[in-house]
């Protein structure tokens, strides 16, 4: 494994390339991923690798995709989506007809994940807008990167035109917006054009297995941001092996034994 001081040079290049603040991520994780990638590309020293990386956008893109794990498992978790459709969404829609769903996303495949989110969301909206970080604008949807099943292909053909992306970069300006994707779904699909960071409240937040990547300080900051935007009765979904902060453990209750869905008290 390459030394951390050399890894920092690689991260500086990637930051320049993609605008990501890698200081939020766990150092050991980054060190391992970059070391494995450079070694697999047959570079024995990171200095040489970095010299190539500076001039190769495609290499940087590949490395970024290598660093961030795939999102697809979330969308094929039938238990989670069934619980959402049967319990969470009816509860939320009973109380409020304009839902604001927050779905932080890793850098690549943002539009693909937004589409899969749409496919899983019932009742399926008649029209929608999806708001994403400006960084996602750079990312092209590679349909070959995901293996669609027959049902998904059919829905893709039917609904692909509905995807209408708009950009903003305000809501989580205190943290790294490269990590975040905002999706707002409403039964009638009207989308607020702009949300001010200080008074945005959210109804449902997906952060499953995203906290794993963050360092403890960034995780704490991130959870505080989320907590400030979830009001009483609203829902937060985290991963099986992720934990709420000690303060949040007192103000959220688990509503499912295995899906790790929490409701704010």
């Amino acid at each position: 494994m390459f030394a951390l001081k050399h890894i920092k040079g690689t991260l500086a290049i990637l930051s320049e390339h993609a605008g990501i603040d890698f200081n939020q991520f766990r150092t050991g994780f980054l060190q391992r991923k970059i070391s494995l990638f450079a070694t697999a590309c047959n570079y024995e020293d990171l200095g040489t690798f970095n010299e190539v990386l500076i001039h190769s956008k495609s290499l940087a893109d590949r490395l970024i995709q290598e660093i961030f794990p795939s999102e697809r498992e979330l969308f094929r978790d039938a238990d989670l989506w069934n619980f959402l459709h049967q319990h969470l969404l009816p509860d939320l829609l009973f109380r409020k007809h304009n839902l604001q769903v927050y779905f932080p996303l890793l850098l690549h495949n943002a539009d693909l994940c937004a589409f899969l989110f749409l496919l899983n969301f019932k009742p399926r909206p008649e029209s929608l807008k999806i708001t994403v970080s400006p960084l996602f604008e750079k990312i092209k949807w590679d349909k070959n990167a995901y293996s669609f099943n027959k049902k998904e292909k059919k829905l893709l053909e039917k609904h692909a035109e509905q995807l209408n992306f708009t950009h903003f970069d305000d809501i989580f300006s205190e943290t790294d917006d490269s990590l975040l994707l905002q999706i707002y779904f409403h039964p009638n699909i009207t989308v607020e054009e702009k949300l001010e960071s200080s008074d945005t409240s959210l109804d449902l937040v997906f952060v499953r297995n995203k906290l794993l990547l963050l360092n403890p300080y960034a995780q704490q900051t991130f959870l505080e941001e989320i907590d400030a935007r979830l009001t009483s009765g609203k829902y937060l979904i985290i991963g099986a092996k992720e934990q709420l902060s000690p303060n949040m453990q007192k103000t959220y209750k688990s509503i499912h034994p295995t899906l790790h869905i929490y409701q704010k008290l």
Binding site: R26, T27, F29, L212, K241
Partner: protein
């Protein structure tokens, strides 16, 4: 002799479960080292694994949460469907990256990160299994100054994993299960074993 402050990491797959139970049943209640288990299993098999192992050991057993600290005298089992890393700050890091060697958790990942972080304090044990996962990790542990123990392929129920480990990491000695237990008990008071029969 195991150094003070060592950390034990055990990897195994097919045929390793009874060996793991044998090892753990012989560790005393005040065993001074943490023991981390990375065992291949079906992803839907969850807490029953913890329960089954808890029945055979005096040490507390758990699946660690992300960012949890590594504590001596505790047995940790890599959770199903997550890779388990050791971070430089001595905490666990879990990951949902793609499987490695068709496995998640992958032994290679835990061995490699443990070796890099703990260096000469890392003791890696590779047991029976049906693929080559763990072999490269074992090599990393050795190159970082750690100690490697490989179960004898003659003794292993499935010898692919230990054979690959021997080929890749070239350990100085091959261990039978009783020898692994004796090694791990160095520096610890042996338990008044209720499970001598396992030996």
């Amino acid at each position: 002799m195991i150094e003070k402050g060592s950390r034990i990491v055990i990897g195994g797959s097919a045929g390793s479960f009874n060996v793991v139970l044998n090892i753990l049943s012989n560790l005393p209640k005040d065993y001074p080292f943490p023991v981390i288990l990375v065992l291949h299993r079906l992803k839907h098999i969850k807490n029953s694994f913890v329960d089954a192992i808890s029945l055979k050991t005096l040490l507390p057993v758990c699946e660690p949460y992300d960012k949890q600290s590594v504590t001596p005298g505790q047995i940790y089992i890599a959770p199903a469907n997550y890779h388990l890393y050791i971070e430089p700050d001595q905490t666990f890091a879990l990951s949902v990256e793609d499987p490695v060697n068709y496995s998640r958790p992958a032994i290679d990942i835990t061995f490699s990160s443990a070796g890099c972080v703990w260096q000469e304090k890392c003791v890696a044990v590779l047991l029976s299994g049906a693929n080559a996962d763990g072999a490269l990790g074992l090599k990393t542990v050795k190159s970082c100054g750690g100690t490697i123990l490989v179960q004898s392929p003659q003794e292993a129920i499935v010898n692919v994993m230990p054979t690959a480990g021997i080929k890749e990491a070239k350990p100085e000695k091959i261990f039978t299960t009783p020898q692994i237990i004796d090694y791990l008990l160095q520096g610890a008071k042996p338990r008044d074993s209720i499970n001598k029969k396992w030996k």
